[in-house]
Assembly symmetry: none
Homo-oligomer: 413 residues x 2
């Protein structure tokens, strides 16, 4: 069933509000087997809203709108859609009663304009909104279904769960299952190249790749009448993906690499300590976002200056003088000394030039050394990243997690 999302609100067109509603609804619709073919955003302008809705009705079976249901003059969604369908508006006493109760509970006097929310197109179904004042509305007419939801995300999501999801299940009988494979240390174009044969003949399941900084996600999605058939379809493709990408796949969940590594550390009962120069605590803070990580993350040292490297990590003056702070030797001493200081199972170090200043012909901006010390072995890797200071830091952090994962799995050369 083809579906289309229409977001109504001038605040979206002026860039004052980030439209998180479409992502939420798109994901839910996709999971439930609906094909979302378009998102359209239009302001609080009845003429343009009307033309957008009429266009949507020509190409989609299910239209979900968000926004424009509130009490103010510029909230026009239901009036506009009622007009298109030739429906009159009627006041519903039960909504009036709810509105009055809502304001009574808050001890606030209800302004007159709030009563606009008690009107529903005749023949439309009211969807209750326990989290706000504007109810949602569903209209089924001429083979089309239009569902109008309020704009505030928590009201919209609540109404989705309460009312819309059950409606979707009725509209569509087919089952959809997705599986995810998250890869690191490989680029999106290589991933695509490697499974081009599957992508080219895709039908059911469908295959898609998504790139994030330093990670690529493959999504397999199949539909069918029962879980067994769908899973058998997915199994066949999963086998190929695992065969071709092997250890590049760091998780079969949607977890990012840092979360995967954090969970792996906790699961294996391993402790970790970090010594960061140019990432300035980014690696530690990414781990620190994971609930329960205090069991594994014991300490982090942000040694930005040479003095801090010497004072906290006992990096030798000779090493800094001879090879410089950004060198294999310094990265090595940083993680090896941190091992002694912390006693942790795994230690990692970062030293590099994040830029934009500080580069030289021999040591350009983007040059980074990452060291990992585990199981009596030290691995030092040299990278040259491009991009802004922040991108260099993020790419570096990504490599630290990659190397920690390799150390845990004992895959370092």
């Amino acid at each position: 069933m083809n579906c289309e999302l229409v977001s109504v609100g001038t605040e979206l067109l002026t860039g004052d509000t980030l439209n998180t509603n479409v992502m939420f609804l798109s994901k839910e619709l996709s999971i439930n087997g609906f094909s979302v073919l378009y998102h359209t955003t239009v302001g609080d302008n009845p003429g343009r809203l009307k033309s957008v809705i009429m266009r949507a009705l020509t190409r989609s079976d299910l239209i979900i709108t968000t926004g424009g249901l509130g009490p103010t003059q510029d909230d026009l969604t239901k009036e506009t859609i009622a007009e298109i369908f030739g429906m009159e508006m009627e006041q519903r006493p039960e909504i009036v009663a709810k509105l009055k109760a809502f304001f009574d509970r808050r001890g606030v006097e209800m302004t007159e304009n709030n009563l606009r929310q008690s009107y529903v197109p005749k023949g439309g179904i009211m969807l209750p909104n326990p989290r706000g004042t504007a109810p949602g509305i569903m209209i089924e007419k001429d083979g089309k279904t239009v569902i109008m939801l309020p704009g505030p995300p928590h009201e919209m999501m609540g109404m989705y769960e309460d009312c819309v999801e059950p409606i979707l299940h009725q509209l569509k009988n087919q089952l959809v299952i997705s599986r995810y494979y998250n890869l690191s240390d490989i680029g999106e174009s290589t991933v695509e190249d490697t499974i081009m044969d599957i992508i080219d003949r895709q039908d059911n399941p469908t295959v898609a790749t998504y790139a994030k900084l330093g990670e690529v996600m493959i999504r397999l999605t199949a539909n069918g009448d029962d879980p067994e058939t769908i899973n058998a379809l997915l199994d066949r493709y999963e086998k190929i993906i695992i065969e071709r990408f092997g250890d590049h796949i760091f998780t079969h969940s949607q977890d990012s690499l840092d979360v995967t590594v954090g969970k792996l550390l906790m699961q294996k009962g391993l402790t970790v300590a970090l010594a960061e120069s140019c990432t300035g605590g980014l690696v530690a803070s990414k781990l620190a976002e994971i609930p329960g990580i205090s069991a594994s993350l014991k300490m982090g040292l942000v040694t930005y200056s040479n003095e801090a490297k010497m004072q906290l990590l006992k990096v030798r003056t000779e090493t800094l003088d001879r090879y410089g702070a950004v060198s294999e030797q310094t990265a090595r001493e940083m993680c090896e000394h941190l091992k002694e200081i912390s006693g942790c199972d795994i230690t990692a170090s970062v030293t590099g030039i994040a830029g934009p200043g500080g580069g030289s012909p021999e040591k350009p901006v983007g040059l980074v050394y990452v060291g990992v010390c585990a199981k009596g072995k030290t691995t030092i890797k040299k990278y040259l990243f491009e991009g802004s200071r922040k991108i260099v830091q993020l790419r570096t952090a990504n490599k630290v997690f990659h190397l920690i994962r390799e150390a845990i799995l004992d895959k370092t050369e």
Copy 2:
């Protein structure tokens, strides 16, 4: 000038990616005086993409697309738009050379599909992309302007600043000037209430408030024919804003609080060291994002465990035993001892319970102590934050920056 944004990518329709590009571009276009009337999102489907672009051409003068410029089979934006305008594709040798250099620098072999990115519609203008492989394209034809930008936000935003903003200034003759006031330690509704009289009668300049975590930004935008008239309009309102908000305004730029504090440290030649428990390096890593900060940020200690607090910061066993790791006393010892260890002008400490686990009735999740030591004075503040682990960490970091700023300005009680 009427403008329309077209986002291309199936990952947006499946809800796998949040569309932050349209918010960024909408805001920039609005600031520059363009009316954005529609956003449309369409998948990697040439037929539907074509119909969306053709529709956009009937109602808008400027169309900006994002996405669909990459190397893969489903990247079809420029081919589709070239077809609509009846333009042929031609390979540009300078793009081929850049692509080869890009892959050479990374020491990765370029797969054949990357060459697709070297084709540009004949007569189109190539917009360079120093942050990625896919260049942007501008086409001006039949009184319409179409600008195609890559989908990855950092590439898109970089290209916007380098190429698109200058193009917008040429397209539009009227002058628009915006001024920004960034406030901390005050809520958005209070800000709005305080200047409701201005907001209510706004015309030229317009006034808008934007809330971020722990910060509120006020934007004043005026338009006119010459800078003098516009600045006179802005001056009148600026005076009111400064009078009413005083020291809550931490900057007249768009800089966030962390960047403002980092710049203030560098500007005043002050050194800083950080001791972080529950924020796990977040404060240090936020500072580390600022170019040149190595002059001020000397060291950071992530002391997650009690052992690390004792070993690295010499927090006394008695203090931890008697008051606990999350206490005013521990926060005090952390920043005072760090002062001795680092010799920095300012030291700050954080200890708290970010959650979701680890809370108790006496010390609930969200309880945080922040300490700042400067000019021979130690200030400890206690906070109780609500929200997820990440939100508690972000709010805490915000308060650290707020207190460091107060210490620099000598405003601590």
